[in-house]
Amino acid sequence: MMLIPCPWCGPRNEIEFHYGGQADVHYPSDPRSTSDEDWAHFLFFRDNPKGVFTERWSHAAGCRRWFTVHRDTVTNEIHPDDSASAARTVTR
């Protein structure tokens, strides 16, 4: 049970959160001119690193805000800066 730092509410138990997968997967700015291949990458392809992963979480059972953290997928350590990061950093 990880302790996840919600930038709005502080550290809370993992069960209060909803996982949102890899962060910074941006919606293509012009889907019409995006190739099938690039579109498929946007939809279906995600990194799966052993190590630090930039990922999204939503405080679903709390303030309902989405935010981004850097978590080491081996140790589950969340980068200490994340708890103090600008709360409005809600990159996708």
């Binding site: 019409r32 995006t34 579109w39 939503s58 589950n76």
Partner: protein, 947 residues
């Protein structure tokens, strides 16, 4: 004779409180403070069980949770399987029996209550032996909030069984004072009888507390979040591997010492002690002083400690150095030990040199620090050659091991390391801590141990009676079979042999098996390592984990404002997510089918009424609400006029249907959208996700209002007349109140929003009132409908009515692989909008295929047949050899009152091109012919919706 092996003095049992108990049909007596195991030993009973695979007699080997053999089934007070006799607290009326390796769950309901506690602390100390108590004291004195969890019934750990002195007084006296000091600290919580069984991320620890049969809750699970953790979990003694090392009467030396000093039990009359280290000498001396004859000490080391040797000489005890016990004899109790010299003398095969009679064989192959929790928390381990065991690397943030758990076995080291760990933990948590003064412990010089894994075996060359894991009956022969089959990792051998997978999770066999495997493979123990340690440390019942989350409290139940009315009118309920929805309203003597056909007829021919409050409702407002809805719905919502309603489909970015519902524009900058009943939370989360992370510039605010509105559907040709009787301020005529619009007014005297929406194809109204007035307005409408025979109906009739009209239900007729076009709903997909979620995916090669599964209707040739939902669909009247090509499956299937026959909706490959064709569905053992049709079965031209 009762308690024949009980000593008159010493021990922590209460001789004034005898306890009667029954074991395997015999009646015995023990004392308050006994475990079942100590009470049995006091009565001369060693054999408790038989082994799981070979049915060999097995006795009590240990005095704690590491016990591999002595499994018992508790019959009274409540049936419980697979407990170790060494951890069962003796209590009045206890009835138990020995188990052959596996037990039986009770078939009766468990009447006990189980509970959960949540706690936070600065420092959690696991274990209350010398290290744990010293840690707790230094942390507590700094003012830190401390929790001490100890599996045993009382604090003290090894001091309870060793009889050691601290500051020249009994060690238990220091334990008493330390415990009292801790108990007096307001920020300290002491939890005896509490086993921490799981150590998870960020110091989340889970423990099981045994509160006893009389307590308000029998057991409770503690879920604790600690800033810092001190693991003072002690160590487990390791047995040795020789032929017949499983005979009852074979016992870990340290455990025998515990039975003697803590429980005042003499575990035998004549003992042989076989050891590889100094610790067993202390047991031998204590036993000798208590009147047990020590027939021999057999030490695998070439050189033995002069300190201990002189103590032995004083008592006339013979020491055999550089010697091993290689086999035993005896039937249901060990009767002799067979000694063999370990001196290497060339090619001579070793042979038994001496046979020593005994009824107790004490063994000590060294001690394994209990690294389970450290390891669960992802701490790494290092093999220490000094002690021949794996010890924790102190590398885990906020977790410190101390005392025997860190490989520091002497009491003085335990106290010191514990006090330092407690100080460091408290300091890390922000407190100004000092280790404080520690009591002086006795100190004996310690001679290095000798790691011995595989002993020579003149009596058992194949190893089939040399047991490595007694709980699983895994022998040297079994492990050799695995290594010869090519397995060279402990994880593989574990799975091949089941080694370490029993109730004890290999507490006594873990390191031992690594040593045996290493020796067979000619590799290093350090390099092979251990298998992964996983929670739970000791077995936990599901009842305890469930706590109060069972029965009615298992999951929240959501009911509507009219729920009691539905109950009063006999409706059975259908679970839709957490909602309870009325399924149908049977009249006396009616079965479900009859009731549903009657309800369907009423809705089509006169008037029906349904509670549709469970539909999700989300209030969407803000200057950019229209732009936002255009992005998330496939159809255009910005062009919707205030006062009007539009059906909408939501897709995920991959173009698959996610949800559907209506969009009502209540103001320029305000909409009310509805969602399917089970998906309301999912839709809100989906919308928030896109709004917050992709379009944060849009000024839009989303609020769930599902439970603010009670919603009543009034359906059928007479619905307008019923409404007109109770509505005021609303023109109900078709011209003034057209389809897909809403009006605000009064219904039954309450402020209401009435929408002309139809999910049945009939003239229909949805009446929204504040939740509080739901039942009142429902009853008023029901009353007003009496002259028309108004009929309440449930979800089943709703399903039939909508399926007759070919309206799909998202989640039933779709499954996340269906596009709007697959549903025949291209009309709901805007061609004008530049973009919306899903649009780009419609032109992906796979989404644009023409042979995708499409929603169609099915009419079985047998008109009475109602196809089972989920049935597969195939092309031929007879099944070819497998694999049979599947065309699709039935998604919805009912009997129709309007059609007077069975009908179904299905998804079929290229189904729209196959309308009129006959395909087949396996029903039972036959293939039923079905004709593919348009999905709309009733009122194709839509003439009925305006009444």
């Amino acid at each position: 004779m009762s308690n024949e092996f009980r000593l008159a003095d010493r021990g922590r049992i209460d001789r004034d409180r005898p306890i009667r108990f029954r074991f395997d049909g015999g009646d015995y007596e023990g004392y308050q403070g006994d475990t079942l195991a100590s009470a049995l030993l006091a009565n001369g009973i060693h054999q408790v069980a038989t082994s799981i695979k070979h049915g060999r007699p097995r006795g009590i080997m240990a005095a704690g949770a590491e016990e591999p053999n002595a499994l018992v089934q508790i019959e009274r007070p409540f049936p419980e399987p697979m407990l170790t006799a060494t951890t069962v607290e003796l209590r009045e009326g206890l009835q138990a029996s020995g188990l052959p390796g596996r037990g039986q769950l009770s078939t009766g309901d468990d009447p006990a209550r189980y509970d959960t506690m949540h706690a936070h602390c600065d420092v959690l100390v696991v274990g209350a032996g010398p290290a744990g108590l010293a840690a707790a004291l230094s942390a507590a004195r700094s003012g830190a909030r401390v929790i001490v969890a100890e599996a045993d019934t009382e604090f003290g750990g090894s001091l309870l069984g060793s009889g050691e002195t601290l500051d020249r007084a009994p060690g238990t006296e220091w334990v008493r004072r330390a415990t009292a000091e801790l108990a007096a600290c307001p920020e300290v919580r002491l939890l005896p009888r509490t086993t921490v069984f799981g150590h998870y991320d960020d110091n989340y620890l889970v423990a099981l507390e045994h509160r006893g049969e009389q307590a308000h809750s029998r057991q409770r699970v503690w879920r604790m979040r600690a800033r810092e953790v001190v693991l003072a979990t002690g160590s487990h003694e390791r047995p040795l591997v020789f032929a017949g090392n499983d005979r009852p009467g074979t016992m870990l030396a340290g455990s025998a010492r515990t039975y003697l000093n803590r429980y005042a039990v003499r575990p035998g009359n004549r003992a042989v002690v076989f050891t590889t280290n100094d610790s067993a000498y202390a047991a031998a001396i204590d036993l000798a002083d208590a009147g047990v004859e020590i027939a021999a000490i057999v030490d695998a080391r070439e050189v033995v400690s002069t300190h201990w040797a002189s103590l032995c000489i004083e008592r006339g005890i013979t020491i055999h150095a550089d010697t091993a016990v290689v086999s035993t004899s005896g039937t249901d109790r060990v009767s002799s030990a067979h000694l063999c010299s370990l001196r290497s003398d060339g090619s001579r095969t070793p042979s038994v040199r001496q046979v020593v009679g005994c009824d107790l064989l004490l063994v000590s192959g060294g001690w394994n620090p209990a690294v389970h929790l450290h390891s669960q928390a992802r701490g790494s381990l290092r093999f220490s050659e000094d002690i021949g065991a794996f010890v924790p690397e102190q590398d885990v943030r906020s977790v410190r091991s101390a005392g025997a758990a860190a490989g520091l076995f002497a009491t003085s080291e335990s106290l010191r390391s514990g006090a330092e760990a407690g100080r460091d933990a408290a300091r890390a948590a922000g407190f100004d801590a000092e280790p404080g003064r520690l009591p002086r412990a006795e100190k004996a010089p310690v001679l290095a141990s000798r790691s011995v894994w595989l002993l020579p075996s003149p009596a058992d060359s194949d190893g089939s009676t040399r047991f490595v894991d007694l709980a699983r009956d895994v022998t040297v022969a079994d492990i050799r079979k695995a290594t010869r089959a090519g397995m060279d990792s402990v994880e593989h051998v574990k799975r091949y042999t089941t080694l370490g997978t029993a109730h004890d999770q290999g507490k006594t066999s873990g390191t031992l098996s690594t040593g045996v495997i290493a020796e067979m493979l000619g590799r290093d123990v350090a390099e092979l390592g251990t298998t992964t340690f996983r929670a739970p440390y000791t077995p936990v019942t599901f009842a305890a984990l469930a706590g109060r989350d069972r029965g009615d409290l298992y999951d929240p139940v959501r009911v509507t404002a009219m729920h009691d009315w539905h109950v009063e009118h006999g409706a059975p309920f259908e679970n839709v997510g957490q909602w309870k929805r009325p399924w149908y309203y049977p009249r006396p003597g009616e079965d479900m089918e009859t009731a549903v056909l009657r309800e369907c007829r009423a809705a089509r021919e006169s008037v029906g009424i349904q509670d549709v409050s469970t539909l999700g409702k989300i209030d969407v407002q803000g200057p950019d609400a229209a732009e936002f809805l255009d992005l998330v719905y496939t159809n255009m919502m910005s062009t919707l006029k205030v006062g009007r309603i539009r059906y909408g489909v939501m897709c995920t970015a991959d173009g698959m249907v996610f949800d559907d519902g209506t969009v009502t524009r209540t103001d320029e900058q305000r909409y009310l959208i509805s969602t399917t009943s089970g998906n309301a939370a999912g839709v809100l989360a989906h919308l928030e996700d896109w709004l917050q992370t992709e379009w944060p510039h849009l000024r839009v605010y989303l609020t769930s209002v599902t439970e603010q509105w009670a919603t009543i559907a009034l359906v059928g040709p007479d619905s307008r007349q019923v409404l007109s009787r109770v509505a005021s301020g609303i023109e109900v005529g078709n011209d003034s109140f057209p389809f897909m619009s809403f009006r605000d007014g009064l219904v039954a005297g309450r402020r209401a929003r009435v929408c002309r929406i139809s999910f049945s194809g009939e003239l229909a109204f949805e009446i929204n009132v504040p939740w509080w007035y739901g039942r009142e307005v429902w009853e008023a409408l029901h009353e007003a409908g009496q002259p028309f025979g108004i009929t309440p109906y449930g979800t089943e009739t709703m399903h039939v009515l909508r399926a007759e009209k070919g309206f799909p239900i998202v989640g039933q007729d779709t499954d996340g692989t269906i596009t709007p076009d697959d549903l025949g709903m291209s009309w709901a997909v805007s061609k004008k909008k530049t973009d919306f979620l899903g649009k780009r995916s419609f032109s992906r090669a796979d989404t644009a295929r023409t042979d995708r599964k499409q929603l169609v209707g099915l009419l079985p040739a047998d008109e009475n047949l109602v196809l089972p939902e989920g049935s597969q669909l195939v092309d031929t009247a007879e099944l070819p050899e497998p694999p049979v090509p599947m065309l699709g499956h039935v998604t919805s299937s009912y009997r129709s009152a309007a059609l007077d026959r069975g009908f179904a909706l299905a998804v079929v490959k290229a189904g729209r091109d196959r309308i009129g064709e006959t395909i087949y569905s396996p029903v039972g053992d036959r293939l039923a012919a079905v004709t593919i049709t348009e999905p709309v079965f009733y009122d194709k031209e839509g003439a009925r919706r305006d009444g």
